[in-house]
Chain length 273, copies 2
C-alpha cells in the first residue's frame, strides 16, 4: 500500500475546484490531494466505487438491481480493469481516498490501492447524489455542505435492503437541510435523476429512519439544520459498503465516503425529462 499522502489544505489552484476538468481533478487526487469531492468539477457526475472479487460480482449486481435507489449502477468493469467507460482514469489511484475491507472490517483508508489490486476485482461505479446538487444550486436551493466546504452528512438507517445472494445490509442515506418552502422543488428536481438516487426516500423526522442524532452522522460531517428548514434524506451510495460491512465478504475496496470518483460524464446525461 502506498503511504497516505495528505494535504492539510488543497494546494493553491488557479481555478476553483468547481471549475476543474475531471481529468485535472483526478490528477490532483492521484498526486495526493485528499478532500471530499462535493463541488469539484461542477457539471460532471461523480460516482461511488465498490470493487469486489469476480466471485461476488453477480451477488452485488443483483443487490444493486434489487436496491436501485441506493445502488444505481452507472458502469461495471471487466475483472482486473482499472478504468471504465465513464471514468478515463485509474480507479486505483484517482480517487482522493479509499476504504479497504477484509471480512467486512474496514482495515484502512489509503489514498491509493495499487498495491492491494487484484486481477479478479470487478469495479462498480454507482451514481452519487452530488450529481443533482448542481441543479439544486441552480434552482436557488442551498446545499449546506457545499456552502460550509465540508463533507456531506451520511447516516446508517434501520431500513433493511432487499438481500441478494450473500449480500445484505441496511440503507445509508445522505441528508440535506432544505427550506420548508423549497422541499417540493427539491423533490421535483432530484426525481429527474433516478440514476443518481433520484427523489428523497424520506422527508422530515430522522427518528422514523432510526437516526438518533442528526449531529452525529455515521459518515462525513454534520451540517446545521436551521430554523425553517427540514432534513431531507436521499438514498446514498455508501449503502454497498454497509452491505460489505454486514455481510463480511473476504475482500472489497470502496471509496472513502464523500471522496468520490469524478467521471467524464455530464450530470445532464443522467437527467430524465
Amino acid at each position: 500500500m502506498s503511504p497516505d499522502r495528505v494535504f492539510a489544505e488543497p494546494p493553491a489552484e488557479p481555478g476553483s475546484p468547481a471549475g476543474l476538468a475531471p481529468a485535472r481533478a483526478r490528477e490532483l487526487f492521484r498526486a495526493g490531494l485528499r478532500v471530499p469531492t462535493s463541488g469539484y468539477s461542477r457539471g460532471y457526475a461523480q460516482a461511488n466505487l465498490l470493487c469486489v472479487p469476480r466471485d461476488l460480482a453477480y451477488d452485488f449486481l443483483l443487490f444493486a438491481q434489487r436496491n436501485p435507489k441506493s445502488c444505481p449502477v452507472l458502469d461495471v468493469t471487466e475483472p482486473g480493469e482499472v478504468s471504465a467507460s465513464v471514468f478515463d482514469g485509474d480507479l486505483r489511484t484517482d480517487l482522493p481516498a479509499y476504504r479497504v475491507y477484509r471480512n467486512g472490517e474496514c482495515v484502512g483508508e489509503p489514498a491509493d490501492v495499487t498495491d492491494l489490486w487484484r486481477e479478479d476485482l470487478v469495479s462498480f461505479l454507482i451514481g452519487c447524489s452530488f450529481t443533482f446538487e448542481t441543479p439544486l444550486l441552480e434552482a436557488g436551493i442551498p446545499v449546506r455542505h457545499i456552502e460550509a466546504g465540508t463533507n456531506a452528512a451520511m447516516y446508517e438507517t434501520d431500513r433493511e435492503c432487499r438481500p441478494a445472494g450473500r449480500l445484505s445490509g441496511r440503507l445509508v442515506v445522505s441528508m440535506r437541510p432544505v427550506p420548508a418552502d423549497r422541499v417540493a422543488d427539491a423533490v421535483r428536481i432530484t426525481s429527474r435523476y433516478p440514476a443518481v438516487h433520484g427523489a428523497p426516500v424520506h422527508v422530515g423526522d430522522p427518528a422514523a429512519l432510526g437516526i438518533a442524532d442528526l449531529d452525529s452522522p455515521d459518515h462525513g460531517d454534520p451540517v446545521e439544520v436551521r430554523e425553517g428548514e427540514v432534513p431531507v434524506f436521499w438514498a446514498c451510495g455508501v449503502t454497498p459498503q454497509a452491505a460489505v460491512a454486514a455481510s463480511a465478504p473476504e475482500f472489497a475496496i470502496g471509496h472513502a465516503p464523500g471522496h468520490m470518483a469524478v467521471t467524464d460524464v455530464r450530470d445532464s446525461a443522467y437527467q430524465v425529462p
Copy 2:
C-alpha cells in the same frame, strides 16, 4: 413438453381483455389461451421473460446493465424459482407462449415449459413498452396494433448492443406509427417510463436502423403506416433473445414475442415525474 394448446379465437369473456385482473389473465393463459397480450389487463405492467442457467446469469445481468434501454430489468428470481416479486403466478405456465433455445437455436414455441424447467434457471423479467401504451392512448395518440387487435411489429436492427461476457447481439425495436404532430408528445410521454424502454431510440427512416422493409417485421405483425404518420422505434425486450440467438448459450427460455408476462405491478409504478 406439454402439447401446444392453441385457441383460434379467444374464448368468450364477460369482461374485455383490458378489464381482466392480472391473475385472471394469467389463469386464461395457463388454461391455454394463446394471444399477444398487448391491451390485456390495462394499467398493469407487462414484462419480457428470459430464463438462463445460473452460470450465465451474471453475463446477462451485466448485458442488461450495459444496454438499459432494451433490457430494463424489473425483477430477477433465485435459481429455480417460478414466481417473482412482481409476478404472483407461475413463470412456467402463465405466459401465453414461450420460445425455447438450445445452442442459440429456437427449437419450439410451447404454451408451457414445465417439462423443460431446470433448478438452475434464473428468470429475468424485463420491462415492456406495452406499459406506456396506456398513457399514449390516454393522450389520444393511436396505438395501431391495439386498434387492429394484432401483435406489435418488431424488427432486428443493425445496431450492436454493448457485449457482456459471453453475450452479444443486435438491438431489436418495436415500431408504432405516430401522427407527425404527435411525435413530440409520444417522446415526452414515453421518456417518463425509463424502466419500460423509455423514449424512442429512433424516429423516422427505417433504413437508418438497417430495416429494409417495414411490412416484414422480424417478430409480430406488420402495422399500417398511414399518410401523415411517422414510424417511431422503441428499444424492445426481445433484444435479450436476439443475444441468445447470436451468442448460442447451451439453453435459454424466453417469452414468444408479444406474448408477455402480465405482472401485478401498476404501470404508474414505473413512471418518473
